[in-house]
């Protein structure tokens, strides 16, 4: 334990020489403060009580319930979770793309697209305002965690997988919108200049210069978020938004521990499957 703690704390030792021990001391103090704060009884945990509770619970999980009904239930939940994550991720891309375009300063009001002609003051102010508004929307979308969105949408459209889809779409849309916007602003400027010098219009530069350069990153980010979303989709059901999460919630609440283990195994299989699928798609597409 002490070793790993100093591992985290000795952050600045290798290069610094400036204030390594101060940093280490602050980190150590933070760790001690946190341990006291959470009232974790470490001797109790390692010495018996906590550990015994965990062990007792773990034993009750075995063997997993492999009856037909349980397996069918887990399979239905897994398919539903997969569907939520996929549709949610696609919805997120649909939310993110337009917002990313209107929050890209190099498309809206500055940079190579706006070299030839000057925007009027009012026009420019309007575009800056649109950009700021788009960024604010993205910030709100991604600040509200998926599960809070899910609870909101359960209240709006009722129970079932659909609110889960909407929750993933909104939260992930905010995350992807920001990432997409950054990708659009960071494209290599030289091809754009080449296009411009051959007489391409502004739309031409966006369509043939900016978007193709950003596309591989879009795909890569979208696949990465899909991996995040399969995990999120597996827990969305805790607030009534369908999928494996809902079944996990029921199994835990009713003390059906063996069924719970089957469902957790299903979560594991789905997550691993989507990770592999996403890695494969990335290697083929990007």
């Amino acid at each position: 334990m002490a070793r790993a703690v100093t591992g985290t704390a000795a952050v600045e030792r290798p290069r610094g020489g400036r204030v390594p021990w101060v940093g280490a001391a602050v980190a150590l103090a933070l760790v001690v403060w946190s341990w006291r704060g959470i009232q974790a009884d470490i001797p109790g945990l390692l010495g018996g009580e906590g550990l015994r509770q965990i062990a007792t619970y773990a034993v009750r999980l075995f063997p997993p319930d492999l009856s037909q009904a349980a397996l069918r239930d887990a399979a239905v939940g897994a398919v539903e979770t997969f569907a939520i994550s996929l549709v949610g991720s696609v919805l997120a891309v649909c939310v993110a793309l337009p917002l990313a375009l209107v929050t890209t300063r190099t498309i809206l009001y500055r940079g190579i697209l706006h070299e030839g002609h000057r925007l009027g003051a009012a026009e420019k102010a309007l575009r800056i305002a649109v950009c700021a508004a788009g960024r604010a929307v993205l910030a709100v979308l991604r600040t509200i965690p998926e599960i809070v969105w899910a609870l909101l949408f359960v209240l709006i459209v009722g129970l079932g997988p659909f609110p889960g889809v909407l929750a993933l779409g909104f939260h992930t849309g905010g995350v992807l919108g920001k990432l997409f916007g950054e990708a659009l602003e960071d494209v290599d400027q030289r091809p754009l200049e080449a296009l411009q010098s051959t007489g391409a219009g502004r739309l031409g530069i966006v369509v043939y210069g900016i978007l193709p350069q950003a596309l591989p990153q879009f795909v890569s980010y979208a696949l990465y978020r899909w991996e995040v979303n399969i995990r999120a989709a597996a827990v969305m059901g805790f607030v009534g938004a369908g999928g494996l999460g809902q079944r996990v919630h029921v199994a835990i609440s009713l003390f059906h521990e063996q069924q719970l283990l089957t469902l957790v195994l299903a979560v594991y299989v789905m997550v691993t499957l989507v990770d592999a699928l996403s890695a494969w798609l990335r290697s083929r597409l990007v």
Partner: protein, 288 residues
């Protein structure tokens, strides 16, 4: 566009495959997507009917203005502090879980590379199978099961409060840390290690003086990044009864106190932002 040199039968085959592959892939994805739309019961009409509009209007009306009286804020302060503490303690446990498993799951430490040059094939295989395989399997299970599921199970096992959240973050993030630690260690430059080995250093010497110093900035940097994620997670784990801001958010939402929810989300935003800044500064400094 390919030059004449490319025109062997094999490469035409491959190019034909390249042309049909996107079509097949596209079709498969489209089919999966349409099927998913049905399974997920997607029905946009639900969003635009009068009932939905009425509830949205009510949420917005309830949410403004946010509740900021002293009593609520002090309650919030306690929850926010607890959230930070959970994230730090959880990250420490994650390091304790991830570091040993990550070391065991590092191929260059357990069975291949300069440390095991003299081992026979059979010994290497045995070494590969036992600790390496077990560590990889454990890490994979730890990180594939979301922290909320872990938290839910730990709540059942050890009761309500911040402790199950700490354990959940520790296990789930331990799995991620362990995997990334092993990747960092495996990509470390082998030349200094070989130099140490040639100079007569033992296995422990190679690890302690060669591998760890080279990898430390990256290890610390990734750990800090995970801490940033942990603060988000610990704020939400309360939804399953595991303390912190999340518990308060859930309570307020269940009681339709959206004015409280807005304040809570703003506090969460500030907290996450502050942690990002602190962690970013430390990371920039160590150059990991």
């Amino acid at each position: 566009m390919a030059g004449p040199a490319d025109r062997s039968p094999a490469s035409t085959d491959r190019r034909a495959g390249r042309r049909t592959f996107p079509v097949l892939l596209g079709a498969a994805l489209a089919l999966t997507f349409v099927g998913s739309l049905r399974v997920a019961e997607v029905d946009p009409r639900l969003l635009v009917d009068r009932k939905a509009a009425a509830s949205v209007a009510r949420f917005v009306a309830d949410a403004l203005p946010p509740r900021v009286d002293g009593e609520f804020l002090s309650l919030l302060g306690v929850a926010a502090v607890e959230t930070v503490q959970i994230s730090i303690a959880g990250t420490v446990i994650a390091v304790l879980v991830g570091a040993p498993l990550g070391l065991m799951a590092t191929a260059s430490l357990t069975w291949s590379g300069v440390l095991h040059e003299r081992a026979t094939r059979a010994t290497r295989l045995l070494l590969a199978m036992a600790p390496y395989g077990v560590a990889r399997a454990l890490l994979s299970v730890f990180r594939a099961i979301p922290e909320y599921v872990w938290a839910f199970m730990f709540v059942r096992a050890v009761g309500l409060g911040p402790f199950p959240a700490v354990l959940a973050i520790g296990v789930a993030y331990g799995g991620m840390l362990g995997k990334v630690y092993s990747e960092i260690l495996e990509t470390a430059d082998p030349r200094p290690l070989e130099a140490l080995h040639a100079a007569g250093a033992g296995k422990a010497g190679v690890v302690v003086y060669g591998l760890l110093p080279a990898a430390l900035p990256h290890l610390v940097s990734y750990t800090l990044y995970r801490w940033e994620c942990a603060i988000r997670a610990s704020a939400i784990l309360g939804f399953v009864g595991a303390g912190g801001l999340g518990q308060q958010i859930e309570l307020s939402m269940r009681m339709f106190r959206f004015d409280e929810v807005v304040t809570l989300l703003l506090v969460l935003l500030a907290l996450v932002g502050a942690v990002d800044v602190v962690s970013g500064r430390v990371r920039a400094r160590i150059g990991g």
